[in-house]
Amino acid sequence: RASIEASPSAFSTDAKPNTFEEITTYNNYYEFGTDKSDPSRNAGGLTTAPWSIRIDGLVDRPGEYGLEDLMQGVALEERIYRFRCVEGWSMVIPWIGFELSQILNRVGVQSGARYVAFETLLRPEEMPGVARPSIEWPYREGLRLDEAMNPLTIMATGLYGEPMPNQNGAPIRLVVPWKYGFKSIKSIVRISLTDQMPPTSWNMLQPNEYGFYANVNPEVDHPRWSQASERRIGSSIFAPRVDTVKFNGYGEQVAGLYAGQDLAKDY
């Protein structure tokens, strides 16, 4: 395989990645349906080229940026990250991408900016799932600026050396490995720098269940299920259940971001 050149990263885990097949047939991407096998079945018709991202808000150079322009001169890395879903399962995924800070530095973040808001493409004619109002479309996510600038936070454009499959958020998506998977928004068409905490889709739907921060945390349960452990899934009925690690094991890099914050309150 490996059609994309990418250098290895010190941030990669040495855990064994899930297979390409597993990563691309088990997705939460409600725009294509709520069943985990829906996206792989229904996302084939998504047009991902040409693609552009509108970058606006508190930035020096707002505008509609073509994906090729944004990627120009960007050094791609392979980041093998643990991926923990809020539903209590996890995988290991070899992403290809680059640090989000590279984009933000290019467009010039103004001093008043404190948050970054993201939006997923909304194109009903190619997304059968949006006919049902299960979520208020378009899908929205957000990060605090310091979280967005953290070197672990990447914009991923591929996995397993291949261009990003549609069902995984082609052509470009966010990956924030110390947060629950729903924060890692797919198929991004808009990035806004704001001074206010932006509304985020799951939080809008069930504020007591999904917070803005959504850091992986075994000590803070989802109201309807425990987050103390997770199943490392991958085609076996004996997928082991393992203890969940705070910040999904990336505490060394990110715990400092939350110094003085009560993470049970800021869940």
């Binding site: 399962w89 049902r132 299960s134 979520i135 299920w225 199943r231 085609s235």
Partner: protein
């Protein structure tokens, strides 16, 4: 006529065939597991399939009386088998949850049962089915008397209610399927309430 033909078949087919038929979907799951057709998280697929089949059999069991009263289709002799198969599926569903999903992490299991409303409701549903399964035999009907036995088995409606609430509560957004099951059970309960109110009225009505 269709109803007569259905009733004719129902008289000829032994309920024991239903037990045999109920094993087929379980074997189908095992087969799919071997061929990899259950996908990336087979445990969840098995767990959810068994739970859903259990619920479907509970709903099917509740439909038997209305079918007879509204359409004249008499499947009463299958009701015990339908109920026991429902109980078997639900028991397997619970077993998969304990063994393969939670992997006998008892601390977390008790925490889930006590603190997670949808699991609490699900466990309550299972507990409600226990006395029903244990008394689904001729000896129990004799011991309890027909009226007492029937009264006990009205618990079925509570178990069904627990099942649909458990289902609706576990999905992350409002989805059509669990809501449809919920409405079906509510409808069947209302029908039953309506009928018993009417028969009470009929019993207490003064003779003209």
């Amino acid at each position: 006529m269709l109803v007569d033909r259905l009733n004719g078949w129902a008289r000829r087919i032994s309920p024991n065939w239903l037990y045999a038929a109920a094993v087929i979907p379980v074997l189908w799951l095992v087969w799919q597991l071997n061929t990899g057709a259950l996908g990336v998280d087979p445990v969840k697929r098995i767990e959810h399939s068994l739970g859903l089949w259990g619920l479907q059999m509970i709903v099917a069991g509740l439909c038997i009386t209305p079918l007879r009263r509204l359409a004249g289709v008499n499947l009463l002799r299958f009701r015990r088998a339908v109920g026991l198969i429902a109980f078997a599926y639900v028991t397997l569903h619970l077993t998969v949850w304990l063994l393969l999903d939670l992997q006998l992490r008892w601390g977390q299991i008790w925490g889930d049962i006590l603190k997670r409303p949808y699991i609490t409701v699900g466990m309550a549903g299972f507990a409600l089915m226990l006395p029903l399964a244990l008394t689904s035999n001729a000896a129990s009907i004799r011991r309890l008397g027909a009226a007492g036995w029937q009264k006990l088995h009205r618990i079925t409606y509570l178990a069904a209610l627990a099942g649909v609430i458990h289902y609706i509560w576990l999905v992350r957004t409002w989805q059509a399927e669990p809501i449809l099951y919920f409405l079906a059970v509510i409808g069947l309960i209302l029908l039953r309430v309506l009928w018993s109110a009417r028969s009470r009225r009929a019993r207490t009505a003064p003779v003209a």
